[in-house]
């Protein structure tokens, strides 16, 4: 199929406009584009700045879509060498199947969250232009993390994300937010330190920072390789809030204003997760990756079960959603024992690969929708105590619907992206004879069912007689619903390995 696409492209018989665009510079453009929005924000004031930021977000989505289409049609990754210098001297940007899907995901979710943020203007929750500056930096940092090929550029991307994300947590300047932001910052710094240490050791071992080259040169039998990979993984695990290092996540994600929570919980957290996967599925020698995979999968299991249990025990809606993020990310690590880090994949392995990345994507849409919906529900009710959510379905019907539909994906019920991802992981685990992973996936679904339905049931109850509601415009409620429906649409992906996601795999 890919060859057909390639010849189709070469013929020039269709997609002339897109085919004419050189793919390489687009990769640089998609990173720079969000930063261009900082200029009007600084010079022209909040109104023009906000408008410019949304325009750039839309453009970013368009560019990301073009990159993804080009990778799809050509069946080969798009590569750009900055300044024409090739690694190991120069810096390479590369969009393979997974990267381009994540680019589109983050651009689309970013647009949704941005449109939601514009509706909060007349309320206390409005915070331009600081919010816009920070979120544009987040967008740029995410794209850099998805495209960069060398360990140091990736480090820069992670730092950019950290320094944009921490102020997002404490945007309103409340004491609790400041404390949460400080914890987050300390953890992120500790993580950066360990990651950097590991990267330096890799450089010492191989003489290069490029992931592809270093991957070829790393010796599996050197103790230094193991230590370097362990340091980098622990650092990234701290940034990715992998169990048991998740403690900073609930207060930070739950304390932020809704638009910021959505950004942090659906997108920012995906960058260190993606890098962890890059390290174990691209950099680490196959032999070492095979031995480390069970450890990471066990940590993922801990996240799914323990954080799921804690989500069930929460009394505040936003904390519940934040714990659910920590739990849901665990599924990604269940994929590691089910795929080989290099070489062609068998069908069950390709299924696990597709399921794992599809989970990342559908979680992004669902979680952004749920945080936005929770924010609106809290505005309508004046609080977010789960027990007292009665009447929310009358006060903010679209938001409750968005929460429930997003929750459908978290629970892995059809039709939703979460369902397809869960079925793929289950099938892969069963076919490869790793039943404990299947059991964990199912148990995680039960816990998710518990905490999502608990909220929905409370929201459907009648309000107490004394309750008063603030009217919320349909426009402010609508964006969460759109993103939640997108998570449902992902459920129509065929239940088979997706060739596109395998493009450019080592």
């Amino acid at each position: 199929m890919t060859q057909d696409h390639a010849s189709f492209l070469a013929d020039g018989s269709g997609h002339l406009l897109l085919a004419g665009l050189p793919p390489g510079p687009l990769l640089a453009l998609v990173i720079i584009l969000p930063l261009a929005g900082l200029v009007p924000l600084l010079l022209a004031g909040p109104r023009v700045g906000e408008w410019a930021a949304m325009t750039l977000a839309g453009l970013g989505l368009a560019v990301a879509t073009i990159i993804a289409l080009q990778v799809w049609w050509s069946g080969t990754p798009a590569i750009y060498h900055l300044g024409g210098w090739r690694p190991p001297l120069g810096i390479a940007l590369r969009a393979d199947g997974v990267s381009s899907v994540l680019l589109v995901m983050s651009a689309a979710v970013f647009c949704g969250i941005g449109l939601f943020a514009t509706t909060g203007r007349d309320r206390k929750t409005s915070f331009p232009p600081t919010y816009w500056m920070l979120s544009l930096c987040v967008a740029s940092g995410l794209n850099l993390a998805f495209l960069a090929q060398d360990l140091f550029t990736l480090y820069v991307a992670l730092e950019l994300l950290t320094f944009a994300a921490v102020p997002l947590v404490c945007l309103e300047g409340k004491a609790a937010q400041l404390e949460a932001a400080l914890t987050y910052l300390l953890f992120a710094l500790l993580g950066s330190l360990l990651y950097l240490l590991g990267a330096v050791l890799i450089y010492a071992e191989t003489g290069t920072l490029d992931i592809g080259l270093a991957g070829q040169r790393l010796a599996a039998d050197s103790a230094m390789t193991g230590i370097a990979l362990a340091l980098m993984s622990a650092g990234l695990a701290a940034k990715a809030a992998l169990f048991p290092l998740y403690l900073w996540l609930p207060p930070a994600h739950a304390g932020a204003p809704p638009a910021a929570s959505a950004l942090l919980s659906s997108l920012v957290i995906k960058a260190p997760i993606f890098l962890l996967l890059r390290i174990w599925l691209g950099l680490a020698p196959a032999d070492l990756a095979e031995r480390a995979a069970p450890v990471l999968a066990i940590l993922g299991t801990g996240a799914i079960l323990f954080c799921g249990l804690r989500a069930l025990g929460q009394t505040r809606l936003k904390l519940l959603i934040a714990y659910s993020t920590a739990a849901q990310l665990g599924y990604v690590f269940l994929m590691l024992p089910l795929v080989k880090s290099s070489g062609p994949l068998t069908i069950p392995e390709a299924l696990a690969w597709t399921g794992g990345f599809l989970h990342i994507v559908s979680h992004a849409f669902a979680k952004a929708a749920m945080f936005m919906a929770a924010g609106v529900i809290a505005e309508a009710l004046g609080h977010d105590r789960i027990r007292a959510l009665g009447g929310a379905a009358q006060a903010a019907p679209l938001s409750v619907a968005a929460f429930a539909i997003g929750g459908l994906s978290l629970m892995g019920l059809p039709p939703s992206g979460g369902f397809v991802a869960k079925v793929m992981l289950l099938t892969a685990a069963i076919q490869q004879g790793v039943p404990w992973i299947a059991v964990v996936v199912l148990a995680g679904g039960l816990l998710a069912g518990g905490y999502v339905l608990r909220v929905v049931v409370c929201a459907l109850q009648r309000p107490e007689a004394s309750a008063t509601f603030v009217q919320i415009s349909l426009r402010r409620q609508a964006m969460a619903l759109v993103l939640a429906v997108a998570a449902i649409v992902l459920g129509f992906i065929p239940l088979e390995p997706m060739g596109f996601l395998l493009v450019g795999r080592p």
Partner: protein, 553 residues
């Protein structure tokens, strides 16, 4: 076996059949969305009549086994009508139609009537879908749709009891879904397709490497929905708190999703004696247990809900016997008996609703209908129930099982009389029977007659065999025994304590402190992980563990 014909076979061509099958599922969904509009909401009573019409027409006109609709990707939906599915589809359409009429009148004064109707229509769409879908993924979707939408019917009253029942119902539904998805994934893994047709997946079952796990998971998932002991705990709670038409739909139709699941998924032509015997035993225990607890109940709807538990036990016995022998015919007979129960129990809940809310005249009609339907359920000769009971007697392999199955009719009779007496004991309340009597009486008449009409088509026997002297007496003695038992219990009634609804669940609630302790423990661990020292040790520990597994060989 002769074909089952509801109507004129071949009356429609294939294209029209396809359209009818798709419309059966789509029209209720469209009507549900239409009710969002205030303008259309005024016509709700007509829309509610329209919604089940395509399904009714499909059951009447589409020839079973002919139609297979496969929608093109990205929709993974294929629909087919087989004999068992057709029986239940037609019965469900009739019940939805009558109960829908009833609901409009019953909820006339309810301010949140519209919300109830939306859940109603989603449950309806799910129930039709579950009888029609032919592929694995769509079955799971349809099953989830009917199960989760039914929550809206359970919890409509929003009382403390309804909230508790609704939460328990949802928890067990999520559990059942987990059992089923595990079974379905393993079933699909045994074929070369990602989303096989159910019949292909079942055909591959005997060679599947996971068959040892698939069957117990399927049995757990589906008997949970059917309410077989000890997984019945949600049923008496949920079915008794819903408004009367909601209870009719829950007890009549929603539980049948479990029946159709077993009918569709039990391996065909492959005897599995062990699990078959287990299912027979679970069914038999449930059949008697439901009656025993039901007889202690003081509320007519709870007693009826326990009767549903008992009757599903009977269906379980039939299915289990079919599994023991690998006899496909048993599955169809189980569906036939389920149809009989669907219509009778649906009518009974409407009759109880009529008796309690319909004023003096409504009470008279309701009690009379309830008494008549009760006799039908116990299998009084000449009623449809007698035909259904006769049909399933051929299935069990042992004489003891046949005898116990026959004897269970005595329990049913006693429980039905108990319900009638409970209704008579209540003081009549003010209310109007307008709009309630018609649907209730019409449905009752259909419920009493339909199994007799379909008997020959389903079993291939002439109806006269049920009217022979031997069959006549065989059906009569359990009824006489049941009557005697009921008379005995009237004297003892006030001395028997009422078993709390949800029996075992009430016991299990004592475990609540243990659950909260576990939750507290998790919170403590959570706080500990939040301390800096612990976090520091954890991060260094992670480095140490990861490097160790990589370096040490």
């Amino acid at each position: 076996m002769s074909r089952i014909r509801w109507g004129v076979p071949g009356a429609t061509d294939a294209a029209a059949a396809d359209v009818l099958l798709v419309a059966s599922v789509a029209v209720p969904l469209i009507v549900a969305v239409a009710l969002v509009s205030k303008g259309l909401r005024r016509h709700a009573s007509w829309l509610l009549l329209l919604a089940p019409m395509p399904a009714l027409l499909a059951a009447l006109l589409v020839r079973e086994g002919t139609a297979l609709v496969v929608l093109s990707p990205p929709f993974r939906l294929s629909l087919a009508l087989d004999e068992a599915g057709g029986l239940l589809l037609g019965g469900a359409a009739i019940l939805w139609l009558a109960a829908g009429r009833f609901a409009i009148a019953f909820l006339r004064a309810d301010p949140s009537c519209n919300r109830f109707l939306v859940w109603w229509l989603f449950t309806m769409a799910g129930s039709f879908a579950v009888f029609l879908v032919a592929d694995l993924a769509s079955f799971y979707l349809a099953y989830a749709l009917v199960s989760f939408s039914a929550f809206g019917l359970v919890a409509h009253d929003d009382s403390a009891a309804a909230r508790r029942a609704g939460s328990l119902y949802l928890s067990l539904t999520v559990l059942g879904e987990a059992f089923l998805i595990a079974a379905f994934v393993m079933l699909a893994a045994g074929t070369d397709q990602a989303n096989p047709l159910i019949r292909d997946a079942v055909a591959a079952f005997p060679t599947s490497p996971w068959r040892g796990a698939i069957l117990p998971l399927l049995l757990l998932g589906f008997t949970l929905k059917m309410g077989l002991f000890p997984l019945h705990i949600w049923m008496p709670l949920a079915h008794s708190v819903a408004p009367a038409p909601g209870s009719a739909a829950l007890s009549g139709i929603v539980v049948k999703a479990g029946v159709i699941g077993l009918v569709r998924f039990l391996p065909e032509g492959l005897p599995v004696p062990g699990w078959g015997a287990a299912l027979v035993a679970a069914g038999m225990v449930t059949a008697y247990y439901g009656v025993a607890i039901g007889l202690t109940q003081r509320h007519p709807k709870r007693a009826l809900a326990y009767s549903t538990v008992s009757q599903m036990g009977v269906v379980g016995v039939v299915l289990g016997a079919g599994l023991e022998t690998g006899d496909r015919a048993a599955l169809l007979l189980a569906a036939f008996y389920a149809l009989n129960h669907m219509l009778l129990k649906g009518s009974m809940f409407l009759a109880v609703g009529l008796a309690s809310a319909g004023g003096r005249s409504g009470r008279r009609v309701g009690v009379a209908a309830m008494a008549m339907l009760g006799l039908g359920l116990a299998g009084l000769p000449l009623t449809g129930g007698a035909f259904a009971k006769y049909a399933i007697k051929v299935v069990p392999t042992s004489d003891a099982a046949v005898f116990l199955l026959t004897l269970s009719a005595a329990g049913t009779m006693a429980l039905m009389l108990h319900v009638v007496l409970l209704l008579l004991r209540d003081e009549p309340k003010a209310g109007t029977s307008a709009g309630l009597v018609g649907p209730c009486v019409a449905l009752s008449v259909i419920a009493m007659a339909l199994p007799a009409i379909l008997f020959q088509a389903v079993t291939g026997n002439l109806p006269s065999v049920v009217l022979s002297t031997g069959a006549f007496l065989g059906a009569l003695w359990p009824i006489a025994l049941g009557g005697a038992l009921a008379a005995l219990l009237v004297r003892l009634r006030d001395r028997i304590p009422e078993v709390p609804a949800g029996d075992l669940f009430a016991l299990a609630s004592r475990l609540a402190p243990a659950a909260s302790r576990a939750s507290d423990l998790a919170a403590t661990v959570d706080r500990a992980l939040g301390r800096w020292q612990v976090a520091g040790v954890a991060i260094l520990g992670l480095v140490a563990v990861l490097s160790t597994v990589m370096i040490v060989r």
